[in-house]
């Protein structure tokens, strides 16, 4: 069994609900986002791209791509980052030494470091949120805890807290359930009869930066595929984006 996610960009309305539910549900501290949604090609979310009347606004939600050939897993010195039997890349917070090599290795920018103690931060601000129980995968590896200690790396877990011991899900991952556009799908890539397999077979799908060889298990449906994300590299000019400089 290999879990995968399919995101239909034609249906995505860029509302960022998936990003927020993920942040809420997994008690992500300030400035930390396991899941992000932005407007392709734009410096500001939901502002148009293009010129002379030919505009577009298309979105791209990005969370952990759960790569089959995951660079983060391969560089982790302690095996804190590992692939479970369901093909999910998880982080054991008890083993993570906080070296951040995985963050350098991950091409998708999804890995997030705990720069300070989230529990303390929430105490200061008064906010209270997040699934409150620890999750030890197969009773062993601490793959979720409400307040990760300062100094470890975290990321999307495909809502491992929703997964049963036998690898099945009774309730789907939060972003799938919460998507107001009904644009996100989750299921078994190895099961040819699963809805996700069907979508991957029948729709125009692409994966992010396949040239890195990461073999992601997040697929994007886009009828505009040929026009934007997957276009060739020729004739592209580097856009001098305004650096977001923080002193």
């Amino acid at each position: 069994m290999r879990y995968c996610m399919v995101i239909d960009l034609d249906k995505c309305i860029g509302c960022q609900t998936c990003a927020v539910i993920c942040k809420m549900h997994h008690a992500q501290p300030q400035g930390t986002w396991w899941n992000r949604v932005f407007t392709q090609g734009s410096d500001y979310h939901q502002s148009a791209v293009g010129s002379d009347g030919a505009y577009k606004i298309e979105y791209l939600p990005v969370s952990c791509q759960m790569c089959d050939n995951a660079p983060c897993e391969r560089v982790c010195p302690t095996g804190a980052t590992y692939k479970n039997e369901e093909g999910m890349i998880l982080v054991d917070y008890n083993r993570c030494i906080g070296c951040r090599t995985c963050m350098a290795a991950c091409p998708y920018g999804v890995r997030q470091f705990n720069w300070k103690d989230p529990a303390k931060e929430k105490e200061e601000t008064g906010y209270a949120y997040g699934y409150p129980f620890d999750v030890k995968e197969k009773g062993k590896r601490l793959v979720y805890t409400q307040n990760r200690p300062a100094g470890v790396v975290e990321k999307c877990t495909f809502c491992v807290e929703c997964m049963n011991e036998d690898g099945t899900y009774d309730t789907l991952p939060a972003c799938i359930r919460a998507c107001p556009g009904k644009a996100r799908f989750f299921g078994d890539l190895d099961d040819p009869d699963s809805h996700v397999s069907h979508l991957i077979r029948t729709k125009q799908v692409f994966r992010l930066r396949e040239d890195y060889g990461t073999e992601p298990k997040v697929y994007y449906i886009s009828s505009n595929k040929s026009k934007n994300v997957d276009a060739g590299w020729a004739d592209q000019s580097w856009e001098n984006t305004t650096p977001n400089v923080i002193p």
């Binding site: 609900t17 809420m24 502002s47 148009a48």
Partner: protein, 865 residues
């Protein structure tokens, strides 16, 4: 056995590993691993279903996950019986706990004890006990009632549907004490005046799950992809169903990006475009003549001399129907087949299909004279003849080459659904635009069928039910009732043409419930001045967030959120009535609003609490009692519903037509019931007077319409009767149209302080500018920009968005002043009161509207702050 053994061994390994780690670092233990393994059980989680009900009026069912008395997680309940509504919710709703627990949560009652009057600063407020706060408020209100009269106390609750019982409790207080109730609908500018003018209704719209039933969708100045996040998927599904979506908007919006075609028309020129389509449809004979004859006033004869409709009572040989109600009037048509004039019975939609639509007739009157008349249709055709494609392009920038093609498609493809939004009608001439679109639907016969008609999704005040058990009224004591008043007059002062009664001393006290007018309302600076100068002597604020209003209030009475109480919610967006349920106890010293209001009631009039508010009954039980009463005495829509059903989950209002989905104007189109259907809770007589003919009215003959040349839905350009009259120099000084649109990150000013929303916006309010315009002013992306006119100014970060039409300046509204460096985006606006909106005054039905978008500004790069 084996499994157990393995487990034990694993635990042992873990323990030794942990011990090793601890030993290695000299006993410092940082992680949970070495802690004893006492895992809490999933069973300790409690799930509570409630309804998210801010002023987006989306009314989304949410499920709170509660652990040890704290909300840990919120996700859509996804329990609507109509599957397509699941999941309903958005990023704000699911992060609502940030408002519940965040630093801006009100913690207890406060009284202003600072020097002078409140002035927007938090210092000067004293935390007091409930008794002290209520005694103070009660005695102040008593003083103001005794000094200035009770109508000088104003009450605003914003949207009743977001909490029928609690908001009803405050209206009940106003009823008991003869306070003035400010209509929230027009205060927000959301009342689409074209609806009462044309149909005699407050508004009418499709439930959003009917969008996929339309085959052709025109969107004028509406951006549901950002403003109706829970419903946006219906638009995508409509496209998947084969609908064509055409978007008309000056700027390229998120909605435009999903449309099949987008046209950047000039601001406030939608009526020109709609009339351009109508002209083609009329000229090419593509209109549905039977529909026009049966349901509209277009066959009615209009006198050439007075420009008024010809009255049956004046015509020789015609009589007024005997049992005609007072609010109706009988007019005249000419039936070509019978060759005679007919009285139009306003109580029946049953004219023959051979009434004359064109030409002129000389009608013999009872006084012996003849008067030349023409059918309204002929006048309309004449009016439309000016809207040739070339003329429309000249007026609106809508490409002439596309008008005929689109018009033919509009005429042919049914059902046609027109969505018109706040950007379309929150203008001085917003009503004309809505009327022009209504005409387009009428010409093509697009009313009364699944998926057709026209809808606004701004505001959403419509009550979907009525009940003689409405607890805001006190029918047993008919002399205890509230007065209607308008926020527009409260700020603007009297006008010559007003029909609304004006309190003798103006408004001296204001009870504000779940509303943040000191940021959010047009001319908020004038409002602030009214407090600072002492003109407003008492502002009482019922809220659970420390908004800007809480810093201008004399008393803050903290209520609770929709996760801390029971309440009943409904919305025009979807057909369900739902409950709020307490997931947690009220936080800090906050109280259920029913409790606060009845305690206050008792302090104004001792004994009112026991008599009208169930005495000391638990407020949540009061809610249940009120719901029970409402249901028991409910009208058709509530028939058969019980509190027990509601407690189990969302229940659906009944509707008249067959099928799963309610169809607007079903009774009118299929059962020939005259217009208007009743707009709850106003009595039919009050709104039926708007359409005396009992038909859809496209020719209006009240004097003001005639005087202003607006009998028919003509196009009038913006600013000519507003900005340029006020200051002729504005033509040169202020060339940019300033529009304050909604953001996906706020519901108006709710969630302005939501920490996660602030992160998503890089914590900075933004003004969206056309890159070419900005370049001319030397403004680069990210620069701080000052937007200004004679009335005020705003500071925000520049976004250069090529989709923004040149000469426009768009701000995403809802930021509290503290985030815009103390400036307020509503100080730039002006209250433009259109005399058309003053012909009648029926609060929230026909009343002056705030026209947010009728505003001109200039902008420049701000100096370093």
């Amino acid at each position: 056995m084996d499994e157990k053994l393995k487990l034990t061994r694993r635990k042992f390994l873990q323990a030794t590993a942990a011990a090793g780690a601890v030993a290695a670092v000299g006993g410092i233990e940082l992680t949970a691993q070495a802690a004893p393994d006492v895992q809490p059980q999933k069973g300790e989680l409690k799930y509570v279903r409630t309804t998210c009900a801010p002023n987006c009026t989306g009314g989304c069912g949410q499920q709170a996950c509660v652990y040890k008395g704290e909300i840990k997680d919120i996700i859509q309940a996804s329990d609507y019986p109509d599957e397509e509504h699941n999941p309903r919710g958005c990023l704000k709703g699911i992060s609502f706990s940030n408002l519940i627990y965040g630093p801006h949560r009100m913690k207890g009652p406060q009284i202003w004890r600072g020097e002078g009057n409140p002035s927007g600063i938090p210092e000067g407020y004293e935390d007091v006990s409930w008794d002290e706060a209520l005694d103070y408020t009660g005695s102040e209100l008593r003083r103001i009632i005794d000094t200035y009269g009770p109508e000088s106390v104003a009450v605003v609750v914003q949207v009743a549907g977001t909490g029928h019982v609690c908001k009803g409790a405050l209206i009940r207080l106003a009823t008991l004490n003869h306070f003035s109730v400010l209509g929230g609908y027009e205060m927000n500018g959301d009342l689409p005046m074209s609806a009462p003018i044309t149909f005699g209704v407050q508004s009418e719209e499709l439930d959003t799950y009917c969008w996929p039933d339309a085959k052709y969708i025109l969107i004028f100045g509406s951006n549901p992809l950002q403003t109706r996040i829970p419903d946006a998927h219906f638009l995508i599904e409509a496209k998947e169903n084969g609908s064509k979506v055409i978007c008309f908007d000056p700027c390229f919006t998120a909605t435009a990006s999903k449309a099949d075609e987008w046209y950047s028309i000039r601001p406030s020129c939608d009526a020109a475009v709609a009339n351009g389509f109508s002209r083609v449809i009329v000229e090419e004979g593509l209109y549905d003549a039977d529909f026009v004859r049966t349901y509209t006033d277009l066959p009615i004869l209009i006198r050439d001399d007075t420009h008024k409709r010809l009255l049956a009572r004046d015509v020789e040989g015609l009589e007024v129907p005997a049992d005609m109600p007072e609010y109706r009037e009988a007019y005249v048509v000419y039936d070509e087949r019978a060759g005679q004039y007919l009285t139009v019975d306003p109580e029946h939609l049953d004219l023959p299909l051979t009434t004359r639509l064109e030409g002129t007739v000389d009608v013999p009157l009872k006084n012996g004279r003849r008067v030349r008349c023409r059918p309204a249709f002929a006048l309309m055709r004449e009016m439309l003849s000016e809207y040739t494609p070339e003329a429309v392009e000249e007026m609106s920038d809508m490409p002439a080459s596309e008008i005929e093609r689109l018009a033919r498609e509009i005429a042919m493809v049914k059902p046609l659904h027109i969505m018109y939004g706040a950007s379309n009608y929150q203008w001085y001439h917003g009503d004309l635009k809505g009327r022009a679109m209504a005409l387009l639907c009428a010409l093509t016969g697009n009313y009364g069928h699944l998926g057709d008609g026209m809808s606004t999704y701004a505001g959403q005040y419509k009550l979907k039910y009525s009940s003689t058990g409405q607890w805001w009224s006190v029918p047993e004591e008919p002399d205890r009732k509230s007065a209607g008043f308008s926020f527009c007059y409260m700020l603007n002062g009297k006008t010559e043409t007003m029909t609304c009664p004006y309190p003798e001393h103006g408004i001296k006290a204001w009870l504000i419930y779940c509303c943040n007018p000191f940021d959010q309302h047009n001319m908020s600076n004038i409002l602030r001045e009214q407090v600072e100068s002492g003109q407003l002597e008492l502002v009482v604020n019922f809220d659970f967030q420390n908004t800007t209003t809480s810093r201008y209030a004399h008393v803050n009475l903290p209520g609770v959120s929709w996760y801390e109480k029971k309440e009943m919610v409904s919305t025009p967006c979807h057909p369900y009535i739902q409950m709020m349920n307490p997931a947690i106890e009220p936080l800090y010293d906050c109280r259920h609003e029913v409790w606060i209001i009845r305690e206050l009631a008792d302090r104004i009039n001792p004994g009112d609490k026991a008599k009208y508010y169930y005495g000391d009954m638990d407020p949540d039980d009061v809610v249940e009692e009120v719901i029970k009463l409402t249901f028991e005495k409910g009208n058709f829509e509530l028939e058969g519903l019980t509190l027990e059903d509601l407690k189990k989950g969302p229940v659906k209002f009944r509707h008249a037509n067959p099928g799963r989905k309610r169809i607007a104007f079903w009774e009118q189109i299929h059962e020939k019931v005259p217009f208007p259907p009743q707009s709850y809770p106003t009595p039919l007589a009050a709104t039926a007077q708007f359409v005396k003919s009992g038909r859809m009215e496209f020719y209006k003959d009240e004097d003001t319409f005639i005087r202003l040349g607006e009998c028919l839905p003509v196009h009038k350009p913006p600013f000519e009767e507003t900005e340029y009259v006020l200051n002729p120099a504005a033509r040169e000084l202020y060339k940019f149209n300033y529009v304050t649109r909604n953001s996906i990150h706020r519901v108006h000013s709710t969630h302005s302080n939501n920490a996660m929303m602030r992160e998503l916006q890089d914590d900075s309010p933004k003004v969206y500018l056309n890159p070419g315009d900005a370049a001319e002013k030397g403004i680069a992306a990210g620069d701080m920009v000052e937007v200004f006119n004679d009335r005020g100014k705003l500071l925000a970060e520049a976004v250069l968005d090529p989709g923004i039409r040149s000469m426009m300046c768009i701000f995403e509204e809802g930021w509290w002043s503290r985030y815009t460096h103390g400036t307020s985006y509503n100080t730039l606006l002006k209250m433009w009161i259109n005399p058309i909106h003053e012909i009648y005054f029926v609060s929230q039905m026909w009343a002056p509207n705030t026209s947010w978008n009728e505003c001109l500004v200039d902008y420049r790069k701000a100096g370093d702050l």
